[in-house]
């Protein structure tokens, strides 16, 4: 990471890996990571809800851990590996976690959904299989105002169990596979 100035504003250079691609960018030091992902890289699936680290809308995975990207500066991504919601689906197929959310009706307006998906993704990297109560605690850093959480907890539980839900429709031909954390 190097610093330089353009006009009167200090600029910082960073190199980071986002969704498997190396990115080099020059940014103002006050640009936070969520704004960087959204407005510089066009990864608008990462949402912003409070910019105080309270709501969890902007949660992404950095070096395998769930991070609220509104509390990180873009320049802090230098040398690190970032995963956003856009990394989950492959072509036309939803990732098993996304499919579990769809099958369980775990989203309504969908604004918080990327935050929950990335929180759960990081939880999956931990390797253990959490109980429902543990899932509730683990996802308590992301707020949802639509669902009452019950179906989000079920979706994550089902994903860990690696089972597709009975009766899950497949009207869009988008998936329905079994699968759990990678």
């Amino acid at each position: 990471m190097t610093a330089n100035t353009a006009g009167t504003e200090l600029l910082v250079e960073l190199t980071t890996t986002v969704n498997g691609e190396e990115v080099t960018a020059t940014v103002p030091p006050r640009l936070h990571a969520a704004d960087f992902l959204r407005s510089r890289l066009g990864l608008t699936g990462t949402h912003i809800g409070c910019e105080q680290g309270s709501c969890g809308m902007c949660t992404v995975v950095v070096d395998g851990e769930a991070v609220k990207s509104c509390l990180m500066l873009a320049c802090q991504l230098d040398g690190r590996t970032v995963q956003t919601v856009e990394s989950l689906a492959t072509d036309d197929r939803l990732d098993p976690l996304q499919q579990a959310f769809k099958d369980a009706h775990a989203l309504q307006c969908g604004f918080c959904t990327p935050g929950f998906l990335m929180t759960a993704t990081a939880l999956g990297y931990q390797g253990s299989c959490p109980s429902r109560a543990e899932i509730r605690e683990e996802i308590a850093g992301v707020l949802c105002r639509c669902t009452g959480y019950e179906n989000i907890v079920s979706a994550i539980e089902n994903w860990f169990a690696g089972v597709p839900q009975p009766g899950s429709g497949d009207e869009t031909g988008s998936g329905g596979r079994a699968g759990g954390p990678r």
């Binding site: 809800g49 105002r145 009452g148």
Partner: protein
């Protein structure tokens, strides 16, 4: 009692369901949202975009003496600055969509003129090359304020010595008082064996959608075309209001609400910042974006619910209710927001209980606080807390089982439809059945028999109930006209066949989590016979949808289902006629099935829908007498509002030493009429319950009386429930079809917000009955319970209460 000459409701058997109505197909909306591919307003990023930031009044009440923006104009990147006089010159005052009957209009501009009446009211705005620069520029604007005396308490605001917020049009802070009622409730009070009464304080809360408000405005002067992407529940009403305020014709305004990250009533109508973004864009000929930050959201969107209810119930010695009255002051804040404060407390004054003598008087009160607007439930949770707390008080006073007292007084199924004292017509339902189901599920009789025996750890368990009705939809455009509302009771859709063999549905209802795309496609699939997957819903664009009303008041499906049915029937009839000509088979022998039109008695004989649709679209090969094209637009208004209903029961254990309590079980029995999609309905009920629990147990916006400042305006200090906070919830449903709506559907979006407060409070008061605890305020916190334990005298009957305004009550009021 008023029994109307109407067809009586059908029995409780589920309405016969064909096709996909009644099935839990997965949602149309999900794939894009799961992939991070939704298009929320902040995701719209046109070329040459500028960003807006808004400077706001830091005082609850202040005169704006001087504004000097000269230094801001000199900052590199600043393109435009607006001050109050600019807005006054270029716009009309913001309009109100749902006026308070009898209230004068308050001249509310997008920027404060001489006086600001609440903390957070916009005073200046800047458009610049980035949000950072725009916010830097705000720091350079010099504003001199003269703080004025303020009032934030709703009852204090009605006192004669209170500072008056709008002295140019009002002598006091009473914006208007609205009375509705029937019979002679005061006489019944005198005749009654028992009268219970209480003052119930309802907390100020906010909807807090996860996506804040947002707007992107683009102006093409040569085309005279203002395109506004906006996070709104009502794009067609946005278009109306922006045209009025900006002195444009509606032809010149297009409003687009793509994906909306939650609304809950908060995103109804035009806010000041929407106008400001348009003004900047029109001045600069460049697109301008504003995304509300969360600190702004807490101060400049709308709040909800705050009110003080003085409620009375009169009964005879057997427990029969003789009269119910509610005089309540509802806080509207510093201005009249597009929807203003709630009136549904008056509409469902008596809940599910039969009473002939009753009235409600609403006193709409101005205070130096953020304006109040609609929020899921909108008056119904508030009044439910009052009457359901008093039902338990009455049961205890008369030593009657509270379940039996409720059952005894509920409107009976055979008496429906029935008109309540404020003019609401309850359409159909079996209220007592829901109550009995809840009582059984929660184990009421065993609890009642066992009594309040402390557990080994000293905690005492209590059970509380809350029974409710919920008005869904509106009682016709005639009703809305009497209230001065600036919108209709109908919904409208356009259905258009395409050459791929699919049907496109165009609606002005924006997508905000309510699953309208899915439910609309289900109705089209059901009625037309086409595959669910072949129906695509295009939502929320005024440039591509018929004029409609919008997504609020639990009314979308009960109105839209009718429009969808009519349009689909018309389209299906023509499709079959065209296929009949093509196949040279009588239309009576044909049916639409999935992707083909085929013989009813021989599925091998048919023609693909894609072929029939192409024939219609090109007009090549259509029979004589048929017009080309395959498109249908329908508008539908239900004959009346439909009333959902239910009962919730809470099992709560309380520590009588500390007041700490735990909601161990919560049972919700609910009826939403015919269910289009059970999974979605359950999701709506659960989501509303979560918001209901937040308002009941943890959410409260507090203002400091001395400074008039909102003291907890951040997500760090305002506690919405997380996944770890909610109690176990058990859902049970009944399904009584409504006779007043298509397919018998009742609205479902709001019911869950209603019963949590009263059910939990009643459970705690049941557990602590031997301690004389009577809760009368929301939210219910362990501290509130502890204080009630410590000071029993402080709860219960108030020393003073709001007396009704003298004068005769209109019989039934203007009616609901």
């Amino acid at each position: 009692m008023t029994t109307l000459d109407r067809p009586v409701a059908v029995d409780t058997a589920p309405a016969a369901s064909r096709g996909v109505i009644g099935s839990s197909v997965t949602r149309k909306e999900d794939d894009r949202l799961l992939r991070g591919d939704g298009r929320f307003t902040d995701d719209v990023e046109p070329a040459y975009l500028l960003h807006m930031a808004v400077g706001r009044c830091p005082y609850p009440h202040a005169r704006i003496v001087r504004v000097d923006a000269s230094r801001a104009w000199t900052l590199d990147g600043v393109k435009h600055v607006l001050v109050g006089t600019d807005v006054r010159a270029a716009t009309e005052p913001l309009t109100v969509l749902r006026p308070v009957p009898g209230a004068p209009s308050l001249p509310y501009y997008a920027l404060a003129q001489d006086v600001a009446t609440h903390e957070g009211q916009p005073v200046v705005s800047v458009a610049a090359t980035s949000r950072h620069v725009a916010e830097d520029a705000l720091e350079l604007i010099d504003i001199e304020y003269e703080p004025l005396p303020h009032v934030v308490d709703v009852l204090a605001a009605l006192e004669p010595d209170a500072p008056v917020l709008h002295p140019s049009v009002l002598d006091s802070n009473l914006l208007a008082a609205n009375s509705d009622g029937s019979g002679d409730p005061e006489r019944r009070m005198l005749e009654a064996d028992v009268v219970v009464e209480g003052r119930f304080r309802i907390n100020r809360v906010t909807a807090l959608p996860m996506e804040t408000r947002a707007v992107v405005a683009e102006w093409r002067p040569g085309a005279r075309e203002l395109t506004v992407h906006i996070s709104s529940q009502v794009p067609h009403l946005i278009r109306k209001q922006l045209a009025e305020t900006l002195r444009l014709t509606e032809s010149e305004v297009r409003a687009v609400a793509s994906d909306v990250g939650g609304g809950f009533g908060l995103k109804l109508g035009v806010f000041p910042e929407d106008v400001l973004a348009c003004l900047h864009a029109m001045a600069l000929r460049r697109p301008v974006k504003w995304v509300e930050d969360r600190a702004e959201h807490f101060r400049a969107s709308t709040h909800a619910r705050e009110s003080v209810h003085d409620y009375r119930i009169a009964a005879d010695a057997t427990g029969r209710i003789l009269a119910m009255t509610d005089v309540y002051a509802t806080d509207i804040g510093g201005w009249n927001s597009p929807f203003g404060s709630a009136q549904l407390s008056s509409v469902v004054l008596n809940g599910p209980y039969r009473v002939e003598d009753g009235y409600a008087e609403r006193r709409v009160t101005l205070t130096n606080k953020t304006p109040v607007g609609a929020y899921r439930g909108y008056g119904q949770p508030e009044v439910n807390f009052a009457y359901e707390r008093l039902m338990d008080t009455l049961a205890r006073r008369l030593d009657i089982d509270p379940v039996e007292l409720r059952a005894q007084n509920m409107v009976k199924q055979q008496d429906l439809p029935w008109k309540n004292p404020t003019g609401a017509v309850y359409d159909s339902g079996d209220y007592e059945r829901c109550l009995r189901m809840a009582a059984e599920a929660i184990g009421w009789s065993a609890h009642r028999t066992a009594g309040r025996v402390p557990r080994a750890d000293g905690r005492i368990a209590g059970i509380g109930f809350s029974s409710f009705v919920e008005r869904t939809g509106y009682a016709s455009a005639r009703f809305l006209a009497r209230r001065g509302s600036q919108f209709g009771a109908h919904e409208s859709v356009t259905l258009r066949a395409n050459r791929s063999g699919g049907i496109d549905v165009y609606t002005g209802v924006s997508t905000m989590g309510q699953s309208a795309e899915t439910a609309f496609a289900q109705v089209v699939s059901e009625v037309f016979g086409i595959d669910y997957t072949a129906v695509t819903v295009h939502a929320g664009d005024t440039g591509a949808s018929p004029l409609n009303t919008g997504a609020f008041a639990s009314r979308t499906m009960i109105a839209a289902a009718g429009a969808l049915r009519e349009a689909a029937e018309e389209l299906a009839a023509k499709t079959v006629r065209l296929a009949a000509a093509r196949l040279e088979i009588d239309a009576a022998h044909l049916e639409i099935a999935g992707s083909v039109v085929r013989r009813r008695d021989d599925a091998t004989v048919g023609v693909p829908l894609a072929e029939v649709f192409t024939t219609a679209i090109t007009g090549q090969g259509i029979p004589p007498g048929e017009d080309p094209g395959l498109e249908s637009t329908s508008h539908f208004e239900p004959s009346d509002a439909a009333y959902s209903f239910g009962t919730a029961a809470a099992l709560v254990s309380v520590d009588p030493g500390t007041g700490e309590f735990d909601v161990e079980r919560f049972v919700m029995v609910h009826d939403a009429g015919t269910v289009v999609n059970p999974t979605i309905v359950e999701g709506q009920v659960r989501g509303a319950l979560a918001q209901g629990f937040g308002a009941a147990l943890s959410e409260e916006l507090r203002y400091d009386g001395d400074t008039g400042q909102l003291v907890n305006g951040s997500m760090l200090d305002y506690f919405v429930p997380t996944a770890a906070d909610l109690p176990p919830i058990e859902l049970l449903h009944t399904e009584v079809a409504s006779p007043v709506t298509p397919f018998g559907i009742r609205g479902v979006g709001e019911a869950g917000t209603i019963p949590p407060g009263a059910a939990v409070a009643n459970a705690i008061c049941d557990a602590l009955a031997d301690y004389g605890v009577a809760l009368s305020s929301l939210p219910i916190t362990p501290e509130a319970v502890w204080r009630a334990l410590a000071d029993q005298a402080a709860s219960g009957t108030p020393d003073e209460h709001l007396t009704p305004t003298p004068g005769d009550l209109p019989d039934g009021g203007v009616g609901y």
